[in-house]
């Protein structure tokens, strides 16, 4: 399961309100509004601001000076986004990038690690387990573990993996990434023939890569020391066959105990339970303001081992606060970010001791039409209309004028950046480049009388090839409401420009802004008769990030009835192509190519620029020139064990 992503980072799987909450951003909104007023007097095409293109790239520069041992690296958390849940069986309320990638992964390593060196792929060296092996019928997968140790001296065993599975199987809905029929529902049984091996039997054959990237990726060994149901119970060291998690009821009791314990955030750093780790770090301090201090785990079995003495995650109340701290110099903040709205200030920040990088997460950005909306659903359901409207999205113009170059065009469901083997040519370009005339022609070719800056109406209702389409009546106009996230300056500018461009094709777009949670909350799959189907177009600014389901297949997004198919898109061919990406096939990449190419034509969603920002979304990443070993993770995870400081 991936996650919705906001224009800035946030909590709970999807990210919450972010951009432009700060007062500085408010000022920029005013400036932007004045600019738009001025622009309204001329052409609607956005103008690039001079000198706005960032000088940064994704190639990491070597540090200045000689490598040293020890020291503290401080890393800026996203505004008002601090880790707050330690137990790596995250329920839906706490399932977030902040908790997984910035917290739990440092302490408790998942079985397989993905994304290092800015590549959207599995990292075998970093993983606890060796690559899985499959039975001939692709219904049984065998995993062998490397000889890792917990910090309490116990060995990481297959029983620890089974512990995690036992909890998930007991009540899958306790797990935030749970999707019915998928993991762990598709696990028929599992056995541990020895301490190093776990064998998982599946309910059907699966694409090996898909299962590794999307299902095995979710496994995290849990120490047997946690297999207790109450305070004061002795921590088990071996499986005597009677451990609490051996039965579903017992596993639920263990979950309830650990979940309850995880609600005591003040006790994280000193807890005898949470201090048993297998990751490269131990938690030394956790404050209620969201500051986390990690120190190296001396018993860490993997490689590399930490060089720095402390990794400090520091909270910020706003983008302005983070930016002000960065402006005081890299001695105070080692890794930070320049929020998108402030990218033009890059040249004044780099002399403070930073290099800046334009890094992306493995995500796709789009906004969603509701194909089941009783009023506009029939129009949105027309393929030609979705294509025409995509041609009104001036991605390159927006990037140049509004995001100061700190974003890239999104052409399809699989992003071309970070570099990956999944995206084909459709990730690099698409046939729906910005053209008001092309959009107008598509409409007029299908029975609409286009009235630029007026009201385009259907003059030829019917289902013929050159008619408006099913459910559209004579004289019907194209008028709809687009709700988007309040706050992000660039998003606000983009939507206003879209409204202006759409008007030139005779389409009326009524814009409304709401908090992120309200936008994402309103976007629900629905039936036309359902009151909650009143929404027409929703744009929370961030689309979808493929994490921790790293394989960019569309079973969560565009399959009929999928949990995140908010626009209620349905197409038999798309369903078949999506199914082909998850099941065993001779050529998995061809299945992915067929899927992404088809979806680029179908446009169940409208693509918009994908903003830079990794690990914190929404801007440029700045790194001290005295920090070595830094490399971005394609899925936004942190690996401070690779860092070192220089003098």
């Amino acid at each position: 399961m991936g996650k919705e992503q906001a224009a800035s980072s946030r909590t709970r799987g999807y990210h919450g309100p972010g951009w432009g909450r700060g007062p500085g951003a408010t000022l920029l909104v005013i400036v932007a509004a004045l600019a738009l007023v001025a622009a309204a007097c001329g052409k609607s095409t956005p103008k690039a601001s001079s000198g706005a293109t960032p000088t940064s790239g994704s190639s990491i520069a070597p540090p200045v000076g000689n490598k040293t041992q020890g020291g503290t690296v401080t890393w800026a958390e996203a505004p008002q986004v601090s880790p707050n849940y330690i137990f790596p069986v995250d329920n839906g309320q706490v399932f977030s990038v902040a908790n997984l990638d910035y917290f739990q992964y440092l302490l408790y390593r998942p079985l397989y690690w993905f994304g290092n060196n800015y590549k959207a792929t599995v990292d075998e060296d970093y993983s606890i387990a060796n690559p899985p092996t499959w039975s001939a019928d692709s219904k049984t997968v065998t995993i062998t573990l490397k000889p890792w140790k917990w910090s309490n001296g116990e060995t990481v065993t297959s029983r620890d993996v089974a512990f995690f599975l036992n909890i998930l199987k007991a009540k899958p809905t306790n797990y935030g990434a749970y999707v019915p029929t998928y993991f762990p529902d598709n696990v028929a049984s599992y056995t541990e023939p020895d301490a190093k091996t776990i064998v998982i039997n599946l309910t059907q054959a699966y694409n090996h890569d898909w299962f590794l990237y999307n299902e095995l990726s979710q496994l995290t060994p849990l120490p047997l020391a946690w297999d207790v149901t109450a305070d004061g119970q002795p921590a088990p060291t071996t499986d005597n066959g009677k451990l609490p998690d051996s039965t579903p009821a017992g596993a639920l009791a263990v979950y309830a105990y650990l979940n309850g314990l995880a609600k005591n955030t003040a006790g994280y750093a000193n807890s005898p339970v949470w201090s048993v780790v297998d990751g490269p770090w131990k938690l030394a301090n956790y404050t209620n303001t969201g500051e986390l201090d990690f120190v190296p785990n001396p018993a860490f079995s993997g490689s590399p081992k930490a060089t720095i003495a402390h990794f400090n995650e520091v909270p910020f109340t706003s983008e302005d606060a983070e930016l002000n701290e960065a402006k005081t110099g890299a001695n105070n903040l080692t890794i930070g970010y320049i929020p998108q709205a402030f990218v033009p200030q890059e040249s004044s920040i780099l002399p403070k001791g930073y290099d800046a990088y334009t890094l992306f997460g493995f995500s796709t950005n789009y906004f969603i039409p509701n194909l089941h909306n009783p009023t506009m659903g029939p129009v949105f359901s027309q393929l030609y209309f979705r294509q025409a409207f995509q041609e009104l999205v001036d991605q390159k113009g927006w990037i140049s004028a509004y995001t100061h170059g700190a974003s890239i065009p999104q052409y399809g469901v699989i992003p071309a950046n970070p570099p990956n083997t999944f995206a084909d040519a459709s990730g690099q370009s698409y046939p729906w480049n910005f053209s008001i005339s092309a959009a107008s022609k598509l409409l007029s070719d299908h029975g609409w009388k286009v009235v630029p800056n007026g009201q385009t109406t259907c003059t030829s209702p019917g289902t013929g090839a050159n008619q408006c389409g099913a459910g559209i009546t004579q004289g019907e106009a194209i008028t709809f409401t687009l709700d988007y996230q309040a706050g992000p300056v660039a998003l606000d500018q983009e939507m206003k420009n879209l409204k202006s461009d759409a008007a030139q094709a005779g389409i009326t777009v009524n814009l409304t802004t709401h908090p992120f949670n309200q936008v994402i909350g309103a976007a629900v799959p629905c039936q036309p008769t359902d009151p909650k189907c009143a929404w027409q177009v929703q744009n929370w600014g961030g689309g979808w990030i493929y994490s921790p389901d790293f394989y960019p297949s569309g079973e969560d997004l565009f399959a009929t009835g999928a949990v995140a198919n908010y626009g209620s898109y349905t197409d038999p061919k798309a369903d078949a192509l999506i199914a082909a990406t998850t099941t065993e096939t001779a050529n998995p990449q061809k299945a992915l190519n067929d899927y992404q190419d088809y979806m680029q034509q179908q446009l169940p969603v409208w693509f918009q620029p994908n903003a830079a920002g990794n690990p914190v979304p929404g801007g440029l990443t700045i790194v001290s020139t005295h920090l070595g070993g830094f490399s971005a993770n394609a899925f936004q995870a942190l690996t401070p064990e690779t860092y070192y400081l220089t003098q």
């Binding site: 007062p23 500085g24 707050n84 309320q93 609600k263 209620n288 303001t289 002000n324 701290e325 309200q518």
Partner: protein
């Protein structure tokens, strides 16, 4: 006096009950599903139903409110799913921080505003008065975030003599170990509030100066210093006391911008964040807190009247 206080406390309880009911109902009329936004888009209908049941969200609004009040009586302000902390835990860690920051700012503002306001009144229409008035208008019209940004740019970035953020310790004692971090946020808040206080003080002092007892005090040869201190300042403080009293709830809300700008998480920012994330337990908890502070502030202002003005006596 005792009877008055008892009556006022009784009124306050009724006001608070009405406040909690009104806010509770209004917040539940906001669009969006609480369960879906908390559990996430993957939540199935049974999961949503279970969540709603556990959290009383499948009951009527009145029953939800009754449940909330019952919990309140037992000292439970609820649990924030967003923050993974109890609301009381959130508030108990942030109230002392706000009291320290905003309380200090209010005190500093009063300390500056009272003498400046008196000086302006005494030297009415002089250069001093015009200058102080201009400064007051400038500060009053300037958004606090703009003032804060200017101070940060000058003192933290340009000259690097003060930190750009408030102390980051989670505890109050820890905050006090880095007093330099308080200079800029306190200055931002104080200067913003000072302008308001000084205008009231000036106006009040001008009225007082026209009173007969001031003329009498001067006529009987009382030194000007004593005239000002004994008769002018004390009597002119009544409206300022009202302002300060009503500023008590502002301790928890006024700091929003400064909290954002100076990286100092507090109640105001928490309330704003909770509102945008539909974190109802936190919103209700803070609303109650601000309501209590408002009532208490109003009560304290009334008591201050009695202390400052001998003509005001309650029985």
């Amino acid at each position: 006096m005792v009877g008055y206080i008892v009556r006022r406390i009784g009124q306050s309880i009724i006001v608070l009950l009405g406040l909690t009911l009104l806010v509770f109902v209004m917040e539940h009329l906001l669009p969006g599903s609480i369960a879906r936004q908390i559990i996430g888009p993957r939540a199935t209908q049974p999961e949503i139903a279970e969540f709603n049941h556990v959290n009383y969200l499948d009951r009527s609004v009145l029953l939800q409110y009754g449940h909330y009040l019952n919990q309140l009586v037992h000292g439970n302000l609820g649990f924030s799913y967003t923050l993974n902390r109890s609301v009381w835990n959130v508030l108990s860690s942030e109230i002392p921080r706000d009291l320290l920051l905003v309380g200090t700012s209010l005190v500093v503002a009063v300390i500056i505003a009272v003498p400046v306001g008196v000086a302006q009144a005494v030297r009415r229409n002089s250069l001093v008065d015009y200058t102080a008035t201009s400064v007051s208008f400038l500060l009053y019209s300037m958004p606090s975030f703009a003032l804060g940004l200017i101070l940060i740019q000058i003192f933290a970035i340009q000259f690097a003599i003060l930190p750009p953020e408030a102390p980051q310790s989670a505890g109050v004692l820890g905050l006090l170990t880095h007093p330099s971090g308080f200079v800029l946020p306190v200055a931002t808040l104080s200067l913003s509030v000072y302008a308001l206080f000084s205008r009231y003080m000036r106006s009040s002092a001008i009225d007082t100066l026209a009173q007969d007892y001031i003329r009498t005090a001067r006529a009987k040869g009382l030194p000007e210093r004593l005239v000002l201190w004994r008769h002018l300042v004390r009597n002119s403080l009544v409206p300022v006391a009202t302002l300060v009293g009503l500023s008590l709830p502002a301790v928890f809300t006024f700091g929003l911008i400064v909290e954002q700008l100076f990286n100092f998480p507090g109640v105001g920012l928490q309330y704003f964040t909770a509102a945008t994330q539909q974190d109802y337990p936190t919103m209700l908890g803070i609303t109650l807190l601000v309501g209590v502070a408002t009532v208490m502030g109003s009560l304290l202002a009334d008591l201050a009247y009695a202390a400052l003005d001998p003509r005001v006596r309650y029985s």
